[in-house]
């Protein structure tokens, strides 16, 4: 069975939800600990949402220095698929695995909302299960999700097709160009503000539209024949 690792930092909150989503997709969820130098042979990694280290200073700023992040950065160089959700996205930006930074929402409030997104890049290991330009509803919940990068970076993201998902029907935080998620130059590392792990079952979420992120990974890994 494909092994997908989920990191717990002190202050992580959504790791159980991610594990549930990974299992629902049919993979094995492997718990990774911030203080370990060990990735337990996982084939893909999720950095979950939450308030790592209390989000002191800036979201993700302290988490990027944890021992496990050293391993995650090495794994990224080897092409291991990595998904950062919300706080995980913030950590990936702070660790410079993804460009730009997530800043305080323009309206200055934490906001929870069932958000419509358009899936724009469906070639990554985390998004291949979606039809190109599919519209999905996945919750957002954050106080610091406004994506900021300088114009040349934004232009490069656009021209290289690296915006993987965009807010539609209203931008919940003032993100540049309605960006909800991006990928790196290799297309293996994805950062996303919305929470697909909260949309895997209409009983507990607005939809099950989020499951595709996890089944995508499973497909990518079984394609590799790992």
């Amino acid at each position: 069975m494909a092994r997908i690792g989920i990191v717990t930092f002190p202050g992580s909150l959504d790791e159980q939800d991610c594990a549930r989503a990974v299992r629902r997709a049919g993979a094995e969820a492997v718990a990774l600990w911030h203080g370990d130098h060990d990735l337990h042979n996982v084939e893909a990694i999720i950095l979950p949402g939450g308030f790592s280290y209390g989000d002191a200073l800036r979201c993700g700023a302290i988490a990027k220095f944890s021992p496990v992040m050293g391993e995650v950065i090495d794994a990224a160089k080897r092409g291991v698929p990595i998904l950062g959700i919300c706080n995980g996205f913030q950590i990936l930006c702070e660790a410079h695995l993804l460009p730009g930074v997530l800043t305080r929402n323009a309206h200055l409030h934490y906001r929870t909302k069932d958000q419509s997104l358009r899936m724009e890049n469906t070639t990554t290991p985390w998004t291949s299960a979606y039809a190109p330009n599919a519209e999905v509803v996945i919750p957002v919940k954050h106080g610091e999700g406004r994506y900021v990068a300088d114009e040349p970076v934004l232009d490069a993201l656009e021209s290289e097709g690296r915006v993987i998902a965009r807010y539609v029907g209203g931008n919940p935080n003032g993100s540049a160009r309605d960006i909800a998620g991006i990928t790196d130059a290799t297309g293996r590392i994805v950062g996303l503000m919305p929470h697909p792990e909260h949309a895997i079952d209409p009983l507990t979420g607005p939809t099950d539209d989020g499951l595709g992120f996890f089944t995508s990974a499973l497909n990518a890994l079984s394609g590799v024949g790992a």
Binding site: Y53, A56, I62, S66
Partner: protein, 80 residues
């Protein structure tokens, strides 16, 4: 036009969780010998030339809006 700076810090007897989190992270990053880290807010404001006492105005702004006098102290200084 005068530019005035306001620095706001939690009163010293009040818990500063942010400062503590930073202090705990420093040794892990290889920085030793740093203690008593406090995190506060820094504001810069431009005051119009026709305002008689810019520092005094900003002090009142700080007292009503920028700082919470129940838990915070502030300092005001003119930079230019």
């Amino acid at each position: 036009m005068p530019r005035v700076v306001v620095d706001v810090l939690l009163k010293s007897e009040i818990l500063d969780p942010q400062g503590q989190a930073i202090e705990r992270a420093l040794p892990r990053l290889g920085f030793d010998g740093i203690s008593d880290v406090r995190q506060g807010k820094h504001f810069e404001l431009t005051v119009a030339d026709d305002v008689a006492d810019p520092e005094d105005v900003v002090r009142r702004v700080a007292d009503t809006l920028l700082a919470n006098p129940v838990i915070e102290d502030f300092t005001v200084s003119l930079v230019s």
